[in-house]
Point group: C2
């Protein structure tokens, strides 16, 4: 008989990765793989001044063990006393046997601050991490581990770090049935049915990841709230999660449904001035704190999109928020009251409404109320101007709400690094306190002197193995934490750190990935909503283009409401001649943005209604410029694919394959956005495409007919 070796088979085999070592993304940026340059410094041992270490210090030591075992193959021994090459951990909360003189003064760094410095010992220098609190010490440990993982030598460092913002929260829009509203990463990671009895290991790995980037609070439930979470069986489940998170310095928050007293205990009203209602919430707060002594507080969406609220009883947002604040105050809890509101009646211009409703309430809120404001006045679009409430509320703490999950930027498949979007908002100048009054300085209290500061991010985390539905969306979770800690941090620096920890410390590969990330969000703006266009996504699911929709329950739900395209012109006039939303901004923004000539192209159609043949700064017509942006967006995605392919061999095969497949989807959908949008605009303005422009692949009818009944993440 003849027999042959199987080249083909060998080839096929090469594509299969043994399951155990698979780079499936579960470990996030905590992979602790040895850097390309090797581990620069391995401490001789770990010493700490604690007789009886707190749970937080024990978790910090666990993390050091996990990290160094993975980085070097063996855990660091525990030492009795600090000597040459030791790693010394010290916190004020853990100072027995630790002489004051030996500890650097960290009192000025506040609760969560830390230092990494050199400690001179009898027989040489040791590395000292010192924190005012155990949590601060833990943040220092993670910092040291991240630096080591990136190849840095931590000897001789002189780091002094403290967060600029007090409350750094993730907001999960997770329902109790595990459906995640605007979630694109599987189900909720909270398995309510099996809590409190079964604690999925994911809960602790989730806490580790959050602690590593400084996140110190988690709101577990959807802002479209279900009162059931406030019942005893569910509070027992919540308490079990709080117990897992506590050692990592993370507090639990819940969304409070304003009508809960009626739904849970049959009260006839939820009117905040009603004494029975006030007592109900006080009793509920007492009940919660009896189970969860460090409960963070309530996050509330009221009188918005059909949610119940104080206005149902003719009371103001302040009256509603203060009633809940009074119930939490004795326990030290806070109320995060969302400013994302729009009334049942159709407004002349929806983007004006939050300002209109909340500005008059400035100063009317209790000290433990924070008004939570989205980055822009509309709704987490690929690009918006900053929200005019920033700077406008001088006597009210404002929390910045960012959306980490990509509801409007391509779900989990499109590569869109949001660090640049958030940096754009945080560095935007409100001019309210003169030049340099950036949103960042408003949010961190530098300008307002507010004692209570907060940043919240709407989570993109789910049950998918890689946590966020795509490998690159992990970067948005990471960047959110880093920017919440320091709103003036550089998005590019954050991208570089993340890429090194997640994919490769090799500078070439890392820089390719960083370049992709830095270009990615503008590509999405180009193929979805260029030149200040906004909210053109498919109705309800927000998947794909639907600029033609103009016939929903209310006008301000339709894309048409936002672009108002006619044969002659396109755009929303928000100047004095229009809705005058521009008046909500300070000078010189008001003046600059009132004039097309001084309005940046990227916000042109947000503020102005512009003729199709308007001559742009570039000399081209608006129509030509618009077409060019769509084409640029499509070609930018093509470039992402080329860059990514260049990494073959530099990163693991598995993630290379998965990201490639996602980039193919993004390329297909970018083309879809471009073609469907152009087909519609042409049907409205009757213009031809500029010479040499590729026509849409299908006619408008084709795009209008597409349906997505099972698109993920829809509201229920």
């Amino acid at each position: 008989m003849r027999f042959r070796a199987m080249a083909l088979a060998a080839l096929a085999t090469a594509l299969i990765v043994p399951l155990a070592q698979a780079e499936d993304g579960y470990r996030l940026w905590l992979r602790y793989t040895a850097p390309a340059s090797g581990v620069a410094f391995t401490p001789s041992n770990i010493v700490t001044g604690c007789d009886d270490p707190s749970p937080t210090i024990r978790k910090s030591l666990d993390e050091l063990d996990i990290a160094f075992e993975s980085l070097t193959g063996s855990k660091l021994p525990r030492g009795e006393a600090p000597g040459q090459g030791a790693l010394v951990l010290a916190s004020a909360a853990c100072n027995d046997g630790f002489a004051q003189t030996d500890r650097p003064d960290v009192s000025g760094l506040g609760q969560d601050g830390y230092t990494i410095s050199t400690l001179a010992t009898g027989d040489g220098d040791a590395v000292l991490i010192a924190g005012q609190s155990d949590a601060g010490l833990m943040y220092g440990v993670f910092d040291l581990l991240m630096r080591t993982s990136r190849g840095e030598d931590v000897r001789g460092l002189s780091v002094e770090e403290a967060p600029s913002v007090d409350l750094r929260l993730l907001n999960h829009w997770d329902n109790l049935d595990r459906h995640v509203e605007r979630g694109y990463a599987g189900q909720s990671i909270w398995n309510w049915h099996l809590l409190p009895d079964f604690l999925d290991r994911r809960y602790e790995d989730y806490a580790r990841a959050n602690a590593s980037i400084g996140i110190n609070g988690v709101s577990l439930t959807n802002v479209n709230a279900d009162a059931t979470v406030l019942t005893p069986p569910y509070l027992e489940k919540v308490a079990a999660l709080a117990d897992v998170f506590r050692p990592y310095g993370i507090k639990v928050y819940l969304t409070a449904r304003f009508s809960a007293p009626m739904e849970l205990d049959g009260l006839p009203t939820a009117d905040p001035v009603n004494e029975d209602v006030q007592e109900w919430w006080q009793a509920k707060a007492d009940e919660i704190y009896a189970r969860i002594p460090d409960f963070g507080g309530f996050l509330v969406k009221a009188n918005s999109e059909g949610q119940p609220g104080p206005q149902d009883y003719g009371r103001s947002h302040a009256e509603g928020a203060n009633m809940l604040a009074d119930a939490l105050e004795p326990h030290g809890g806070v109320v995060m009251w969302r400013a994302f509101v729009y009334s049942a009646e159709e407004p002349e211009d929806r983007v004006k409404q939050a300002y209109t409703e909340f500005k008059p309430l400035d100063g009317a809120f209790r000290d433990n109320v924070i008004v939570q404001v989205k980055n822009g006045p509309l709704d987490f679009q690929p690009r918006e101007p900053f929200h005019p409430l920033f700077g406008a509320m001088e006597d009210t703490p404002l929390a910045l709400e960012l959306q980490v999950t990509k509801e409007y930027l391509g779900f989990s498949t499109h590569l869109a690094y949001l660090g640049t979007l958030w940096e754009e908002v945080l560095s935007a100048d409100t001019y309210v306190y003169g030049q340099g009054s950036t949103v960042a300085k408003v949010v961190d209290g530098a300008l307002t002197g507010e004692p209570l500061t907060a940043i919240a991010g709407v989570s993109n985390i789910g049950s998918d193995r890689n946590w966020t539905g795509s490998h690159f969306d992990q970067a948005n979770w990471y960047a959110f934490g880093r920017l919440a800690w320091n709103p003036e941090a550089s998005a590019e620096r954050i991208a570089r750190d993340w890429a090194a920890l997640t994919f490769s410390t090799g500078p070439e590969a890392r820089d390719v990935i960083v370049d992709m990330m830095m270009a990615s969000r503008e590509a999405v703006v180009n193929y979805m909503t260029p030149l200040g266009l906004t909210h053109l996504m498919g109705t309800g699911h927000h998947y794909g283009p639907a600029p033609w929709v103009d016939d929903l329950g209310r006008a301000d739900w339709t894309p048409y409401y936002y672009h108002r395209a006619t044969k002659d012109a396109i755009g929303f006039d928000r100047t004095q001649t229009g809705s005058n939303a521009i008046a909500q901004y300070a000078e010189p923004l008001r003046e600059n943005w009132s004039d097309i000539a001084t309005t940046p192209d990227e916000l042109l159609l947000w503020f102005h209604r512009v003729p199709w043949d308007h001559e742009m700064k570039s000399g081209r017509t608006l129509w030509e410029a618009l077409v060019d942006h769509y084409d640029r967006g499509v070609s930018q995605v093509g470039e992402l694919k080329v860059h990514w392919q260049s990494l073959e061999g530099a990163i693991d095969r598995e993630r290379l394959r998965e990201v490639s497949a996602y980039l193919d989807i993004q390329a297909k959908e970018a083309r879809w956005w471009r073609d469907a949008s152009l087909a519609y605009w042409m049907s409205v303005n009757g213009l031809d495409l500029p010479a040499g422009t590729e026509p849409p692949a299908h006619d408008l009818g084709y795009y209008k007919a597409l349906e997505f009944p099972n698109a993920p993440g829809q509201g229920e």
Copy 2:
């Protein structure tokens, strides 16, 4: 300063498993870890007679590489010619260069059969795996790998294997929005939104697992069907999955919504005798086969629980099934038509209905129609008598439908090995063709001579990392495949093989696990529905006890309908003096089960209405016996916990911890079942508990008040 080493910290650390090596259950029974006794035989190389191996043979070679790399640390080299110690692969479909004389005659084994034997070569003996088809060869490869993983020496083996059943299918009750009806393992593994562009690696690992146990068909969608899956965009997604499964010998099936012609194309009717309707289905079948040449066929739930069907037009189930069968016949497809029906009108006894409706249709179905019948006449209860249709349909192929997911046996948390339940059904004697007319012999065609045979299992698979929501539920997926291949296989032997592959080949640990599995289902029967009681679960979600419910839309939805407990007696009289359901069974069953004295205790209250003070064979009253069963169920779960704890050190810490937590939940819920049931029975019969019996922990009101609005797996 004083410093101390951290014993506590070291302890905490010991509990953390490095993520990469975690035994998280993903690898199922394909872990390929070296057996305790070592790998008995490692082939010197692999040789095959194929110039150009088929995809199926390439996958078989991939599997050998994955397995031996994991078992021995290195892949087997490819050989040019068979010699001493070689592993030789041969299939009739791949016989170039393979002389007929050298191949054992496998023609008698049919499509999927294979042999493992010794091949004498010039320089010594080789191990030969031979199959009639490439699929048969692949099954042989998996058999050899499982034996090797369990520590068996495969040299000198003389194995001749062939499945007794042609179609071995998993039925997924998965909706297109990824909700799984009666699913307790997360979401559907079919990510419809990202198909066909993104192929999750899970799809191939799922196919590998199925192929390893002989499953050769998969129905992807819920029997409560959505016609959307028959539209072109979804058929493209289905085709992508079919392409992944094809090399593993797995065909794709879909559920066909009977009203699809009306919903998708606006036909005025779905009447099966209407020519437009017939043509619509013929065109749809052509369209499907153009994309999926080996499409398996349709699974249909019609005129049951509100689903549309032929009876809507006064046509019979046969007329409906035959219309679809005619559309599939030219392409070689089959229709699996479910006999789980009950009419809109309330029946006098629901368990009689399938027989009443289908028995008269015997012989009226096309040759490519299989009537799919649940194991029992009610609905996948912890215990039922076998379905009376088995044996009653002499001229109609019957498929046995088993439920792998534990809708009525404690969801994913309760340990309940279903191998014993299924063995009980398969070995049950229908007596229709004389003694020994077991359900197994009816299903595999041995008695009926039916050319087309099938077994279907309702999947328990989801997006959870461990696939099935619990480690032990993997055993039910495994056992289903093994019993579908050989309905006369031993449930205990299957448990032993699974435990060795999944947990430990060490005989002591393995036997402890097998003992736990073999005792587990009877424990569930004892604490949920002893002595022939049935369907006492909470309404809708079927989570927990609710025997008191008696006021639903229709009586046969209520637990009360099934137990009919009054002050004097309990049970459902199905003898001549009652519903006479007993007449649907053959003699001598009819006679035996008509008399309390000759009715087995385990079916007593299923067939008889019995006074509480009835004297049992044991001499105790029925009430005393009932209480004893509940107590036994609770104590059996206690024993499971003790056995499991004895495995500490013998199996990995991670699964030890997870299963322990689940057993704690089971113990808590077993006690809940016992207490709630006793509290209710006592409220009905007014009897005291036997002396020394522990009273329920709460009063009946407490149990009645419990609500589970978010219990998983509910219908939508």
